[in-house]
């Protein structure tokens, strides 16, 4: 299994390189010159030329790429143009915030999806199944930003239960744990609702198939209760494909977090990325992209490894 892991990591390197090439050149194609944005109304051609030279933006793009690549191989992700701080420290600052909403949302989404999907499959075509299916499609079709805005309108403005954004109440100097938690509610719910829908549908079909298998009949023959049949015998089997799906949906989730953070003004990786995009802050954009690429690769690898732990038939060598 260790050999397999190393091989997978080595195989991921060309993919990651490809990701950096594409995002690097895309960034330079997108209209909007960082120098112009940085200088604002102090802009003169002379100042622009000087700043371009300082930032190394005057060289040909492919030269810039290799300079950048050489730097990150030495662990140097450069300085943000706008904040004038090391990119790494900005990312480390934002990362915990993103982690907490993504992790909490994914865990909740997973629990709901597994439970809903299983019960739906067991009571296939019942009114419960049909109603949940309709609700699922509703959230599945809904873009994250739209759902986020609706939630703000309903639960922050019309019924002011939760704050509409930020991580703590800005008027409080020493925020409590409860203050942090209440600011998490709407972003987490948004992210959760958009992921639950797809996973529950997936779980439903996977569970449906599992319940038709011969080993389920064997379990009934033993005299097991229906609850045990669903959640012990069929669940372990039907959850297997969900693990792979989780690995594959990782980039989508992080992209979802990007929108959610923007809407709720939540200072995580997503907001960092949005702001960097508006400012054409190339070092941040590139670093976040590489980071997301690495997370995705690790996510898929972990999904495969966990699959092999849960499914005794799979063995990696």
């Amino acid at each position: 299994m260790i050999g397999y892991t190393i091989r997978r990591i080595l195989q991921a390197i060309p993919t990651l390189l490809g990701v950096t090439v594409i995002s690097f050149f895309l960034m330079h194609i997108v209209p909007g010159n960082p120098v112009r944005i940085l200088l604002g109304n102090r802009y003169t051609p002379e100042r622009a030329a000087l700043l371009s030279k300082q930032l190394g933006l005057n060289k040909p793009v492919w030269v810039q790429y290799f300079v950048w690549l050489g730097n990150i191989l030495h662990g140097n992700f450069g300085y943000s143009y706008v904040y004038n701080k090391p990119v790494v420290s900005l990312i480390l600052q934002a990362l915990p915030h993103t982690l907490i909403i993504v992790v909490v949302a994914v865990m909740l989404a997973h629990i709901f999806a597994v439970f809903l999907g299983s019960v739906q499959a067991y009571f296939e075509n019942s009114p419960f199944d049909q109603i949940v299916t309709v609700i699922n499609y509703f959230f599945y079709a809904m873009p994250a930003f739209w759902l986020g805005i609706l939630l703000i309108i309903f639960f922050a403005i019309d019924i002011p239960l939760f704050p509409s954004g930020g991580i703590t109440n800005p008027t409080v100097t020493h925020p409590s744990f409860g203050d942090f938690a209440i600011h998490l509610v709407l972003p987490v719910v948004t992210l959760m609702l958009i992921s639950v829908a797809g996973w529950a549908r997936f779980m439903r079909s996977s569970m449906r198939e599992a319940l038709l298998q011969d080993y389920v009949r064997t379990a009934r023959m033993k005299g097991a209760r229906e609850f045990r049949i669903i959640f012990v015998h069929a669940l372990r089997n039907s959850i297997l494909p969900l693990i792979t799906l989780l690995g594959l949906s990782l980039p989508g989730l992080l992209a979802g977090a990007l929108f959610v953070e923007e809407i709720f003004n939540y200072p995580g990786m997503g907001l960092l990325y949005w702001n960097a995009l508006n400012d054409r802050d190339f070092p941040i954009l590139l670093a976040v992209t590489v980071f997301l690429g690495i997370v995705t690769v690790i996510g898929n690898l972990l999904a495969d490894l966990i699959y092999s732990l849960v499914d005794p038939r799979i063995q990696y060598r």
Binding site: L99, V102, M107, Y215, T218, M221, A224, L242, I298
Partner: protein, 363 residues
């Protein structure tokens, strides 16, 4: 980090259900209901069992007016070609058919009608007093659980014993069914075992609680010939050791000759002939039974192909002949056979046949 947490979440939610399960659904500990003592009565008495399947809103008969009984310690054979309703009959007895099935008649097990029991009463009987071995050894075990836990599960569901005790008894069961290295096998998964081994495991699971009645649905059909013989030998030994009554379903009359006391021949959802094995073999009364007997391979006993003895096929349940269901394939068919369904005629002591040819003899 993100992904690690993601998968923690994934595992967590499964753990969550297991905990909920453990808290709300502890293993059942209540004792079995006492069964009326009635020493000479039959273990199983099936009377006018009918099974219909709902297909697109209409009900079709898959099993019609099936009646038979099994005496204590007896092996009753149920034979017939593929698709004639053997599995449906056996699954109906223990109420394991899909919800689209409508069952009527009576299935008296030690005097209690299984068809009128509540679901929970039925669960207490399944796996404990009545067990079943299925036609598909390759898929009947759960692929993600160890053999050990799959055998002990039956014990834990029905006996008030500790997991350790159940484990020890499971190892004993594995020894009884002739599994080499039982301690190692307890820790292995189904995919590591051959078909014959898996069927032995299924027998161990079925026999773990020492049931009074074992239903074996073509236990050897999916296995190759040498393994078939071993499994039959094993079933014979275990059956007489435990004093189990057995309903042995097969399409192979050779198996019947070797294993059974009496036999019921099934065709298109009906029992067409029933009697002692010797009577059926040496004095068959129904043209279908004769057809089956003529088709037993005599010279090349190695042939394991399914028997297709008689011209034509078993009709599908949507297109049953109105009167005698065997009429389209019968060489003795008469006009009457196509309009009037034949009843069961008694031809001998404990020997019945569903064919108009027997009416004359009876008169």
């Amino acid at each position: 980090m993100v992904s690690i947490s993601l998968y923690m979440g994934c595992l967590f939610s499964q753990g969550f259900f297991v905990i909920v399960f453990a808290v709300y659904f502890p293993p059942r500990q209540d004792a079995k209901e006492p069964i009326g003592v009635c020493p000479v009565s039959n273990v199983l008495e099936v009377e006018n069992l009918n099974v219909e399947f709902n297909m697109d809103g209409k009900y079709y008969h898959a099993v019609r007016d099936v009646s038979f009984y099994i005496e204590p310690g007896e092996v009753l054979g149920l034979v017939g070609e593929s698709g004639c309703g053997k599995s449906v009959t056996s699954l109906a007895l223990v109420r394991l058919l899909t919800k689209t099935a409508r069952i009527s008649g009576s299935v008296r097990y030690n005097g209690r009608d299984l068809l009128t029991l509540s679901d929970s009463q039925m669960r207490q009987i399944r796996g404990d007093e009545i067990s079943m071995i299925f036609q598909e050894p390759m898929t009947s075990l759960n692929p993600v659980y160890k053999i050990g836990s799959q055998i002990s599960e039956t014990l834990l569901l029905h006996r008030n014993i500790s997991a350790r005790e159940a484990f020890a008894q499971s190892v004993e069961m594995l020894k009884k069914v002739g599994i080499p290295r039982p301690d190692d096998i307890m820790d292995e998964y189904p995919h590591q075992l051959s078909g014959g081994m898996r069927q032995r495991i299924m027998i161990a699971i079925a026999m773990a609680c020492n049931p009074q009645l074992l239903i074996a649905d073509e236990p050897t059909t999916a296995l190759d010939v040498t393994i078939q013989a071993q499994i039959l030998e094993l079933m014979k030994g275990i059956g007489s050791e435990f004093g189990t009554s057995t309903l042995l379903i097969t399409h192979d009359l050779g198996v019947v000759a070797e294993m059974c006391n009496r036999v019921a021949v099934m065709y298109a959802g009906e029992v067409v002939e029933q009697g002692k094995v010797d009577d059926i073999f040496y004095n068959p009364q129904h043209p279908y039974t004769r057809g089956l007997l003529n088709a037993i391979p005599k010279i090349d006993a190695e042939s394991k192909s399914r028997l297709q003895p008689i011209e034509g096929n078993v009709p599908s349940i949507t297109r049953m002949p109105r009167a005698c269901r065997f009429a389209p394939r019968c060489v003795h068919v008469m006009d009457r056979c196509k309009v009037e369904p034949p009843p069961l005629f008694e031809t001998d002591d404990e020997h019945v046949a569903r064919c108009w040819l027997n009416e004359v003899k009876e008169a």
